[in-house]
Structure formats: structure tokens, C-alpha cells
């Protein structure tokens, strides 16, 4: 059987905020989530959300609840959907404003951590989107990396965004 052709995670990251067709309208200054693969809408896709954020010097970032989200078709990178959460939320839960904790590590270390996550996602996302199990150890590695990088206060938002992927990752 011909394998489903998917775009790479790195190309998703590159086009995430702007979107292939300029349909993703995200104000500069909003916090943009990591993109997560999901099949919950019937197509192989990457989902992401953005939240307003207040950044003051030498103060922790205060991030509002997600106010917009979108799906990129994982076969083409095209924007499959873009919605304001006020009109079409991705979760039943009402999220609230949170103060983000101070990240652990230097900018260079955090950059490297993000590169590792993107590399693992590049390897694993196709397995998930094709309905395959993938290597258990790599799944667990990515799960640990995401747990280390995504602030605990935001974890429920990611679980709501892609519950199928998050459950698959934890098995």
C-alpha cells in the first residue's frame, strides 16, 4: 500500500505562524504554541494555537487564554482551518490567564532543547499520522522532552488541542 505522503515537521514550523495562504492572522507579540499532529478532524493535520501575552522587562510573561487556533494539512502544509476561539474553540474547557514560570537554562540551551523536540517530532509525527505505533523509546523521549519544555500551566491546553496525539505519546 502506498504510504501517505506528509510534509516535514520542520516545514510546519517554518510556516506555522504565517500559514501557506496568509489566512493565519496572528498578531506579533502573541505567544504561539508548538504545533502538534492530530487526526481528530478527519485529516492528518498539525494544530497550533496563539495566546495574547504581556511581556515586561525582568518580569515573568503573563499569557492569556488561547484566542485563535489553526490546522495545517499535513499532506500539503495548506491551512485547513483557522478560527477565533470565541467563535469556534478547540476545547470545551475555559482556560484562564497564567503567569509562566522562569524557564530553566540559558537561551542557547533552550534553543538546543527546541531543536531536539523538532527533530523528534519530525521522526515521530509521521508514525502517528499514519496510524502506526512508532518506536516506544522515541515516543517516551519526545514525551519527556515536551514535559520538560512546555510549562505545566499550559499542559492542559496542549492536551485539549491534540488529545489523540498526547494520549498516543504517553502509551
Amino acid at each position: 500500500m502506498e504510504q501517505l505522503a506528509l510534509i516535514s515537521y520542520l516545514s510546519v514550523v517554518a510556516g506555522n505562524r504565517r500559514g501557506a495562504t496568509r489566512e493565519v492572522d496572528v498578531p506579533i507579540g502573541h505567544a504561539v504554541s508548538l504545533a502538534l499532529p492530530t487526526l481528530r478532524y478527519g485529516i492528518p493535520a498539525y494544530a497550533a494555537f496563539a495566546s495574547p501575552a504581556v511581556r515586561e522587562p525582568e518580569q515573568p510573561v503573563v499569557q492569556g487564554p488561547p484566542d485563535r487556533w489553526w490546522l495545517l494539512d499535513a499532506r500539503s502544509g495548506a491551512v485547513a482551518m483557522f478560527a477565533l476561539c470565541s467563535l469556534h474553540p478547540f476545547a470545551k474547557e475555559q482556560f484562564t490567564k497564567v503567569t509562566l514560570p522562569q524557564p530553566v537554562g540559558t537561551v542557547a540551551e533552550l534553543r538546543q532543547q527546541l531543536n531536539e523536540i523538532q527533530s523528534l517530532m519530525d521522526k515521530l509525527a509521521p508514525n502517528f499520522l499514519r496510524g502506526e505505533q512508532g518506536e516506544a523509546e522515541v515516543r517516551h523521549q519526545l514525551h519527556r522532552a515536551l514535559r520538560a519544555r512546555i510549562p505545566q500551566v499550559l499542559w492542559p491546553q496542549y492536551e485539549a488541542l491534540a488529545p489523540d496525539f498526547m494520549a498516543w505519546l504517553a502509551t
Binding site: 502573541h30 492569556g64 524557564p103 537561551v107
Partner: protein, 234 residues
């Protein structure tokens, strides 16, 4: 450390061969300067004059704090001799749907590269958004006398882990000058006006090419560039 070439007694070195073939540009300052690490550079751009175009964002009557893009637009408008304040720009943008007004006031004021370009154009300085640019292209725009806003990651720009997010574009600043090696012409870095932190040193701040690579090029090389060049002093 900085100053007019005449007052400092500096002249361009005759060895600056890369300059000999360059077309002369009018009204874009050029002067020799010394970086904090004592590297001598040729600065192109009105860095000193445009320091006063910058201020800490959030100085508007609507209480919007996410106004880095709008303050950058204000900066560019003033560079072109157009009277503007953050309040006037924010109010215009809010009325015309050119900034985000959907959240609480401190969270409002965010723009996109498209709305920044549209705002500049409507307020008198035609501009457009570009993506995937390089530092060489940025240098060309500065040396041509164009106004340039770049979209950056604040964590990389400020070496601040808490403002890194997931490496996305989350801030906008204005580029006011470029520093080159006076002999080889190699780009040493850029000068920016940054409204984000309220530090005096963020007006005309020197940013080296490594920081520019991570803060700007690696996150998309996105900028808003004026279609016209400055031809008269403000």
C-alpha cells in the same frame, strides 16, 4: 564613542576599497565609530539622530501594552518627518482594524507585518512586508535610506530565556543603521531602536550578526520596508 566624522577628525580610509564602487547615497549618514569591543566600524545610517524616535512602548491613552509594532511604525513615520505619537498611531490602528483589540487592554495592540505596512502606507509612508530576507538584504535597505522594521524573537534579542517562547516571532524593532568593517566591508552588525524594555541603551543599540541571525534571520527574516527612501532631514 560616537560622533560626526568631522568633529572626531576621522575620515574614511583610502583602503575602504569596497566603498569606491558604491553609488553615493544622499542624506544617509556615514561615519567611523568604535564598538564596545574596540572594533572600528563604518556606520551607515542616522543612528544618533533617530534615537529620539524611540521610546518605551505602552505610552498611549488606550492602555495597550503590546504595541511594539505600532511604536516601530511611529518611529519610521517620524524618521520621514511625519508627526506621530504612540497615542495617535494606536488610536488610528484600533479604529481601522490594524491592531488586535480583542483581549484586555494590556494584551492589545499587536500587529502583523501586513498591518504594519498598511498603517505606514495609510499614514504617508508607502511600505510593504517581505519574508525570508538576509542580513545582506537588510544592509542594502538601510544603506538606501529606507525605513525598516524587523520582526524578531525577543528572547534571542535580549538574551532572555523567559521571552524565548518556542522561538517564534514575538517582537518588532526598527533598524536604524548598519556597521561594516571599514576596510573589507564585512557586516559587523546593526543598530536598532527597541521599544520593549524602556532602557535608554535600547535606542541605537548595537546588535552583532550572531544575535541578528538567531533573533531575526532564523525565525523567518521578516521585515517591513518602506517603498521610498528618506530624502530630506527631519
Amino acid at each position: 564613542m560616537t560622533g560626526d566624522a568631522h568633529s572626531a577628525g576621522w575620515e574614511l580610509s583610502s583602503e575602504a576599497s569596497f566603498m569606491k564602487d558604491a553609488e553615493p547615497l544622499t542624506d544617509v549618514s556615514r561615519y567611523l565609530d568604535v564598538l564596545p569591543d574596540n572594533t572600528e566600524v563604518l556606520v551607515v545610517g542616522d543612528v544618533e539622530r533617530f534615537r529620539d524616535c524611540n521610546h518605551k512602548q505602552g505610552a498611549n491613552d488606550l492602555g495597550f501594552l503590546g504595541t511594539c509594532g505600532l511604536v516601530s511604525c511611529e518611529d519610521v513615520l517620524r524618521q520621514f518627518g511625519i508627526e506621530a505619537t504612540e497615542t495617535s498611531v494606536v488610536n488610528y490602528a484600533a479604529r481601522h482594524g490594524l491592531c488586535d483589540i480583542s483581549a484586555t487592554p494590556p494584551e492589545c495592540g499587536g500587529t502583523t507585518e501586513y498591518s504594519q505596512a498598511q498603517l505606514l502606507t495609510e499614514l504617508g509612508v508607502p511600505a510593504h512586508a517581505e519574508f525570508g530576507n538576509s542580513q545582506e538584504q537588510l544592509t542594502q535597505y538601510i544603506e538606501e535610506g529606507r525605513g525598516v522594521i524587523i520582526e524578531v524573537n525577543a528572547g534571542e534579542l535580549w538574551n532572555s530565556p523567559e521571552h524565548l517562547g518556542f522561538g517564534e516571532i514575538n517582537h518588532a524593532v526598527v533598524v536604524t543603521g548598519v556597521a561594516r568593517d571599514p576596510v573589507t566591508g564585512e557586516i559587523e552588525g546593526f543598530y536598532i531602536n527597541d521599544s520593549g524594555r524602556g532602557y535608554r541603551s535600547d535606542s541605537g543599540r548595537f546588535v552583532d550578526t550572531d544575535v541578528m541571525r538567531y533573533a531575526w534571520e532564523a525565525v523567518g527574516g521578516t521585515c517591513v520596508v518602506t517603498d521610498i527612501v528618506r530624502s530630506t532631514s527631519i
